[in-house]
Symmetry: C2
Subunit: 160 residues, 2 copies
């Protein structure tokens, strides 16, 4: 394994480990558990899960992998606070979208070359990227891995 491969595989493992933890927590929760608030008056588990799916869905175009699939989640899980929008989506559909989205991301991460990883993401212009070359695909993935962990810390507070 080259040094480049080692750096990349280590970084991707950080993403994958956090996804696996979130899968255990959310996909392993019952419908009743998903309706529980992480603390009195705070977000429900189902909101955090839908929020992560919507954010990861947006990573597909951001990383140049493909178009979004679940923009219908944005109103309830990204733009609005929990309970601000009626949500009819159920547990099984969220589980399927969670698996499909992270599966598509992982498939791309496993084939990205070092040049792919250090190339700009699609939300930064060529000029801005020239000024700050750390605004690359890897920065997006590491930032989003930390974002998963941020909400895992909250989800861990929910009553068991």
């Amino acid at each position: 394994m080259t040094v480049e491969e080692s750096l990349i595989r280590t970084a991707v493992a950080t993403w994958t480990i956090n996804i696996d933890r979130a899968t255990t927590l959310f996909a392993g929760a019952s419908e009743a558990q998903l309706q529980q608030e992480i603390a009195p008056g705070k977000n429900r588990l189902i909101y955090l899960w839908g929020h992560l799916i919507a954010v990861h869905d947006r990573m597909l175009p951001l990383l140049g992998i493909g178009p979004r699939r679940y923009a219908d989640l944005d109103a309830a899980f990204l733009e609005g606070a929990d309970r601000a929008v009626d949500v009819s989506i159920g547990r099984d559909e969220l589980a399927a979208r969670w698996a499909a989205t992270n599966g598509a991301l992982q498939e791309a991460f496993d084939r990205f070359t070092a040049a792919d990883w250090t190339a700009r993401h699609t939300a930064v212009s060529e000029a801005d990227f020239a000024a700050n070359p750390l605004r690359n695909r890897l920065s997006v993935v590491l930032n989003r891995a930390a974002h998963v962990s941020y909400h895992l810390g909250q989800a861990a507070l929910a009553p068991k």
Copy 2:
């Protein structure tokens, strides 16, 4: 900037960004705020802060940077639950230790070479590292950056 440098600087930036967020949140809190629980019956902010200092202090030997300095924090912030051990350490002392610990880590991260980053950390044997070469210094730092984010998510729930 080489591809290796870009990968490494991007990963280190993930660490630094999360440390900066934690500094804003914890070092910017008043003594009264630090005593608040993140949610009823859950950890206080001061506990999360002391916990992160103790964990980061342990990174110094783990990454071969130097010896620990604050093992006296372990009983209250690492081994015991919040309030299980009387803590006499005050806000200013925690702020000084937080800055000193993360400063020592950042100084090392800024001089580590690609070979340093992909070398094993001190808690894995040479045999185990040969079997899994991703158990390197970079994995520790990315894992700990996600750990900071995990507790930031919790700290964000505390009453303002």
